[in-house]
Symmetry: C2
């Protein structure tokens, strides 16, 4: 019965319903009482913590430090960088008052009209404006540069249609904001962080990504260039997994941030900003999971191994407990995170289904016969294959198995992407194949008009102009005009 | 010149100006463009990260998990627990609209009046209401209990008079929210977390605290009992450093959260909540620092050791670099965090002043004569004493020195508290001595009226009813009525 409750909609029936079921049933997140805002449940948050820790280490290794800037942004700040406000700053949570009062009839509280703010405050949708306002006081000379700050924070964008992790009104993210003395340095930083994101996606999330640059119409509002990593989900749609923006001197000019260079000349500061969010959890789910539940890469699983005892009576349980304790400590000594679930309120079958649903990479089970034979049953979540092996050196076996799982799910995702990436040369061909999903490499004449036409007719967008791969020029599949290189088209999340 | 810029107001001239100077000049935090909201600068944030990591480990060791709940709370939720809203929920940031629009005259953006929320949203001042609303769906039976969640988050309380770290409109904190099947279990949890906070304060912050219970008038709004840890600052004032609340069934009743116990009986769930915030950074500063700047306990210093080379010419610098590299790697192998500052844009004197100001626990300096003699100069920040010692086994020497500094600053703070704690028996005596500052142990008749009278006449409040120490009954210093035990009075931050 419990098992049926956990049943997911099959991906072939409805991919989006499968996703929704999985997020809820694996206890990752749920909708809250506040429209569009999610509650991230402990198991989902544990994945985020793993991601955070790894990314934070990588940011620090590349010379960044963390800081914290205000949640609120004065409304007037948003008007300072014209493209920035035009681009996306409209759908925001606006704070207009700072006090409640008890209602006269005692029925609750109401907003105190006397406590109206002189200038409304916007809950940050992103922090370029407040941070560049702050940097103005931090920067006088080239000696104050570079500034390499990151912040872990919540942001709010008032989305109308929301979806757990993928698009929520409030989400958690990190935003890096760097300041540099030269254009070159800022551009190197921008690309460096794109590379950090790509490495994180591929090595830790086991999710292959295409590195590229956004077309002008898909650029971050206020950026000169937006670098992106694009991943393919199992339904063939693209997901933008992280972006790194070269901001030129736009925000420095808007907030009047100048510095004296080594020659004594005054110039505006150069900038980058870059971010990834809890959206990555959605990407992780949709990259690897199956109809039985989550499939997590060992590098980001809240725990990598679960051990379940199968026993008759307390005496046998005690013997298993003792035997398992030795295995647990050997696994931990190798840096493997492990949970031993000998709780007596659930049957082994229930536990098996539960940990399968939650995507624990390796499950070990030990029963009476295993005790006799000095063996243990090993199941790997990615292939669902089982084998019974000796307990001798089980820890090195499991350690190697985890590496194998990490490599295997990456390869599987890469193979999927390879077989679902099509090189097309005619627009008819493009339109005909688009419904099958996947990435399309096609020539484009570089104009926003052609891009817009394709988007309107097909709902496919240019995900990026790839930085690697085939760089041969050609002719646009729509207009026949010259094209510098193929670009990546897909329908996207 | 640079050194003068770093000069702090002396504590004897103005303790509050000294504090303000120190926070700014040591690059810990600054005021932002948003009234009452601070920017936590990288060095200040690095201290917070150290605190977070340690506390998070302690929470996890005691069985807690992290989760994340929405930033916004529907206005109606605040009315549900009557005492809660009466107590403090009034000074809040209120979101009334969800969209901006461009002004017709093109001069910027304005709030779109069409985008008014049906129900206003409150930026969380604390999350009991939204969390207990969520727990309602998580809890059916005793099998779902206990729930032991913590969240790291930002909260907003619209304070009129703010002070960096100590009282800001937005601050960072953690809030634990637990749910239990029995009163007993919830009370044990409440006290357990008070003990965790006390251990953190004493072992890591090197800040002695008094553990106690709040009087009814000082209790958290909606709590049955508030447990607190109270620390003494160097000006003799008290600072509430952390609180843990036993909430009884108050929030479960307000949000209708019930469970079926083992016998099949339906009951309301029992609760605790507990939190510490970035205010702890203020407490840390005011516990140990001096007129030269910060004094940080090694356990929470962003880096524990700084090494400065004193050299003439590149060749000598290279020799020092080589020698120091060996010391650095030996220190790191012992788990000591170390920064080698051989930047050539600042003189050693400037660096010495800078790291003194920033409270780096140990400074090592190596010059030409040290090279010849295989020695190094060691300065400890807490006592500012210097000695020149051999480089042989310098790492074990420094490691032991760090432990000694940690113990010494704790002892110094404890001694200060001991000499500034007075047992008083008459109200006249109490009033006469109060201006000298410090803690006062006095008898109180247990009534809110007497407490209120003392507060109005002296600005001193009951910080707590101590859980340890002298438990002898007596008579109230004001009314002469019976008193169960002495309570702790002080003026407070």
């Amino acid at each position: 019965m419990a098992k049926e409750l956990k049943q997911l909609t099959s991906r072939t029936v409805s991919y989006s319903q499968w996703y929704q079921d999985l997020v809820i049933k694996a206890d990752l997140a749920e909708n809250s009482a506040v429209r569009g805002c999610m509650v991230i449940k402990p198991y989902g948050y544990a994945i985020w913590e793993k991601m955070q820790r790894q990314l934070d280490d990588m940011f620090k290794e590349t010379g960044h430090v963390n800081a914290y800037f205000p949640l609120f942004i004065p409304k007037s700040f948003l008007s300072k960088e014209a493209e920035h406000v035009e681009g996306f700053a409209k759908e925001c949570a606006v704070v207009t008052h700072y006090r409640l009062r008890s209602k006269a009839d005692g029925s609750g509280v109401e907003v105190d009209p006397a406590a109206k703010l002189e200038e409304e405050l916007i809950v940050r949708p992103t922090s370029e404006t407040i941070i560049w306002h702050t940097y103005r006081n931090w920067i006088q000379s080239y000696r104050d540069l570079p500034i390499l700050c990151n912040q872990w924070a919540n942001v709010v964008r008032w989305e109308m249609r929301t979806r757990l992790f993928l698009r929520t009104a409030e989400f958690l993210w990190q935003e890096g904001h760097t300041a540099h003395a030269t254009r070159d340095e800022a551009e190197i930083e921008t690309r460096k962080m794109q590379a950090v994101y790509a490495e994180f996606a591929e090595k830790f999330m086991a999710m292959p990504v295409v590195k590229g640059v956004k077309s002008a119409s898909e650029r971050f509002a206020g950026a000169v260039d937006t670098y992106t990593i694009e991943a393919m989900m199992q339904d063939g749609k693209a997901l933008q997994a992280g972006t790194s923006h070269f901001l030129g001197q736009n925000f420095a000019k808007a907030f009047d941030v100048t510095f004296t260079d080594k020659t004594g000349k005054l110039d505006h500061v150069w900038a980058s900003s870059w971010g990834v969010s809890t959206r990555l959890i959605g990407a992780l789910i949709m990259s690897h999971s199956d109809d039985n539940g989550l499939v997590l890469p060992p590098a980001l699983a809240p725990f990598q191994v679960v051990i379940v005892p199968i026993y008759k009576g307390e005496e046998q349980l005690n013997t298993i407990n003792e035997k398992v304790a030795g295995i647990v400590s050997k696994l931990k000594a190798l840096g493997v995170s492990v949970k031993y679930d000998n709780a007596d309120n659930r049957k082994p079958g229930w536990k098996f289904a539960e940990y399968e649903l939650k995507g624990v990479p390796v499950r070990l089970a030990m029963g009476g016969r295993d005790l006799e034979n000095n063996t243990i049953e090993v199941m790997r979540r990615d292939t669902l294959t089982k084998e019974t092996i000796t307990c001798d050196n089980i820890e090195t076996y499991v350690k190697a198995l985890l590496d194998d799982i990490q490599a295997n799910i990456y390869q599987k995702a890469l193979d999927y992407r390879t077989t679902h990436t099509t090189v097309v040369d005619s627009y008819d061909d493009f339109k005909a194949k688009l419904d099958e999903g996947g990435f399309f490499l096609a020539h484009w004449d570089g104009t926003p008009e052609t891009e817009e036409l394709i988007k309107n007719e097909t709902k496919a967008t240019i995900r990026c102009i790839p930085l690697e791969g085939d760089m041969t020029p050609g002719v646009c599949m729509v207009t026949g005009k010259p094209s510098v290189q193929r670009v990546l088209f897909a329908r996207a999340y």
